[in-house]
C-alpha cells in the first residue's frame, strides 16, 4: 500500500482519540487564548445596552437540553446583561425543554431576585407553548390568546407587569433564541416585517450562516454558537461556561483540520496519479 493510500485510509478512531485528548488538556491546564470580538456580537450587546432602563424585552426561548453546551454561555451572559441593566423581561418557551432550562437558569445560575427583581413585576415566565410560526404571529397580536396563565398558573391579568400589555406594542425588543436553523425566518416574517420590532437573535454555530443574510438590516445583532457566547461574556464582563470552553475548542479542532487536510491531499494526489496513468 502506497503512502498516499495509507494517508487516505487512516483509521478514523485515531481522529477521535487525538481530538478527545487535545480537547481535555486545556480543561485541566487553561491556556488563556485571546478572544476576538465580532461585529454581530458587539451589535447584539449594544442593542440591549442602548435600551432605556425599564424597557420590556420579550425572550422567545427555544433552547434545547441536548444542544445546551452550544448555547448556555449565550443564555447566561444575556440574562446577566439584561438583569444588570434593569429591563423587564417576558420569557416564553417555544420548545418542550425551554421551561426546564429556564428553571435551572433563573432558579439557580442567574437569579433575577439577586438583581432586585420581583416576579410578576419585573419578569414573567409564560411557559411552553408549541408556537411555531402561526404561534409567533398570534403572540405578537394577542398574548392572552396564546397564554391564558403564566407558567405558575397565575392568570396574566393578576400580574402587574402585564397590565395594559397584550401585544407587540408593549415590547421594545425581541430576543429570539432558536435551535432550528430556519426558525430565524419566523422572527423576520412575524416581527420585523409587520411591526418593525427590533429583533436580536441567538442560535447554534451551524445556523449562523443562515442568520447572517438578515443582519444588520432585519436582525440588529446575533450570537452564533458558543464562540459568540464567549465573546458576549468578555464584552459584558460576565465570565461563564464559554470562557472555560474557549481554549478546549481552539485546540481540539486541530486534529480535525489536519485530518481534513490529509484527506484532501490524498484524494487529489490519487486523482492526479490516475489521470497520469491514463
Amino acid at each position: 500500500m502506497s503512502f498516499l493510500s495509507k494517508l487516505g485510509n487512516i483509521d478514523y478512531r485515531w481522529l477521535y482519540i487525538t481530538s478527545l485528548i487535545l480537547t481535555a488538556i486545556p480543561l485541566f491546564v487553561p491556556i488563556g487564548l485571546t478572544v476576538t470580538l465580532s461585529e454581530p456580537v458587539k451589535d447584539y450587546y449594544a442593542v440591549i445596552q442602548d435600551l432605556p432602563e425599564g424597557s420590556v424585552i420579550a425572550v422567545s426561548f427555544g433552547g434545547s437540553a441536548a444542544l445546551l453546551d452550544e448555547q448556555e454561555a449565550q443564555f447566561l451572559a444575556t440574562w446577566k446583561t439584561i438583569f444588570s441593566l434593569g429591563h423587564k423581561v417576558l420569557f416564553y418557551s417555544t420548545t418542550e425543554d425551554g421551561p426546564m432550562i429556564l428553571t435551572n437558569h433563573l432558579g439557580d445560575k442567574v437569579k433575577p431576585e439577586d438583581y432586585g427583581y420581583t416576579y410578576g413585576v419585573d419578569y414573567v415566565e409564560l411557559g411552553f407553548s408549541p408556537l411555531g410560526e402561526p404561534g409567533q404571529a398570534s403572540f405578537a397580536t394577542d398574548i392572552r390568546g396564546v397564554y391564558q396563565v403564566d407558567r405558575r398558573g397565575t392568570p396574566l391579568d393578576d400580574l402587574p407587569m402585564m397590565d395594559n400589555f397584550n401585544n407587540w406594542e408593549g415590547i421594545d425588543l425581541l430576543i429570539y433564541q432558536y435551535t432550528s436553523c430556519t426558525d430565524i425566518e419566523f422572527a423576520v416574517r412575524q416581527w420585523t416585517v409587520p411591526y418593525q420590532t427590533e429583533v436580536i437573535a441567538t442560535t447554534l454555530g451551524c445556523c449562523g450562516p443562515m442568520a447572517a443574510p438578515y443582519y444588520p438590516s432585519q436582525i440588529a445583532g446575533f450570537l452564533s454558537g458558543s464562540g459568540a457566547g464567549t465573546e458576549l461574556e468578555v464584552l459584558s464582563g460576565n465570565p461563564g461556561p464559554g470562557a472555560a470552553m474557549s481554549d478546549s475548542k481552539s485546540i481540539g479542532i486541530l486534529p480535525q483540520l489536519i485530518f481534513i487536510a490529509f484527506g484532501n491531499i490524498a484524494y487529489f494526489a490519487k486523482m492526479y496519479s490516475k489521470e497520469e496513468e491514463r
Binding site: R13, L20, D69, Y147, C206, C207
Partner: protein, 205 residues
C-alpha cells in the same frame, strides 16, 4: 461540597456520557442502554409537558366557558385517528388546517421580508459604497441564483455565471459545515467539563 444525591446524579450522567461515546469504537450494550435512557426520559418529559400545555391553554378555558376551545381540542384528537387504518383519513382535516394556516401566515412576510427587502439591501449596499464585501455579496447572489435557472441551457454567459455561482454555493455549504464541526466539538467539550466537575466533586472539591 456536593451531597450524596448530587454525586449519584453526576455519576449517572457520567456513565451515560461514556456509554454514548462508546459508540465511536463500535456498537455495544452500554451504548444502547444510554441511548434508550435518554430517549425514554425525553419522550416522557415531552408528553407530560404537552399534556400540561393542552390542559392550561385549552381544557381549562373550555370548562371555564370558552366554548370555542372545543375546536382545537377536537382537531387535536383527530390527529390520533391515524392510529387505525380505517379512520386514518380523518387526520387529513387537522393537517389541512395546520398547512393552510401555516402557509397563509407565512406568505405575506416571505414576499416582503425575504424577497423584496433582501434584494433592496443587496442593491443599496452596493450603491451606497458598501465596499468590497457588498460587491462580493451582490455577485454571489446573482451567480448563485443563475445556478438554479433550469429553463435555459448553462452555456455562454449563463453557463459562466452558473459556474461561479456553484463556487459560492460550495463556500456557503463549507461555512455551514464548519459550524457543524465546531458545534459537535462544543458538545464534546461540554460533556468533558461535566466529567471533570464530577471528578472534582468526587474528590471533595
Amino acid at each position: 461540597m456536593a451531597g450524596i444525591m448530587e454525586l449519584l446524579g453526576m455519576a449517572l450522567g457520567t456513565f451515560l456520557i461514556f456509554s454514548t461515546l462508546s459508540m465511536l469504537y463500535k456498537d455495544n450494550p452500554f451504548f444502547r442502554v444510554g441511548q434508550m435512557a435518554v430517549l425514554g426520559s425525553s419522550i416522557a418529559h415531552f408528553i407530560l409537558l404537552n399534556m400540561q400545555t393542552v390542559y392550561n391553554n385549552a381544557w381549562t378555558p373550555l370548562i371555564g366557558g370558552d366554548i370555542l376551545m372545543v375546536i382545537p381540542l377536537v382537531l387535536g384528537l383527530l390527529m390520533y385517528s391515524r392510529l387505525k387504518k380505517s379512520t386514518a383519513w380523518l387526520a387529513r382535516y387537522p393537517s389541512s388546517v395546520l398547512i393552510g394556516i401555516g402557509t397563509g401566515v407565512m406568505v405575506a412576510g416571505t414576499v416582503s421580508g425575504q424577497v423584496l427587502d433582501q434584494i433592496a439591501v443587496t442593491i443599496t449596499d452596493v450603491l451606497n459604497g458598501g465596499g468590497i464585501n457588498s460587491m462580493i455579496i451582490a455577485v454571489g447572489v446573482v451567480t448563485s441564483i443563475t445556478f438554479f435557472v433550469f429553463t435555459k441551457e448553462h452555456t455562454g454567459v449563463v453557463g459562466s455565471s452558473a459556474k461561479i455561482g456553484r463556487k459560492f454555493l460550495m463556500i456557503s455549504l463549507g461555512a455551514n459545515w464548519s459550524g457543524e464541526l465546531v458545534w459537535y466539538l462544543t458538545q464534546l467539550v461540554g460533556r468533558l467539563m461535566y466529567v471533570k466537575n464530577f471528578l472534582t466533586a468526587l474528590m471533595g472539591g
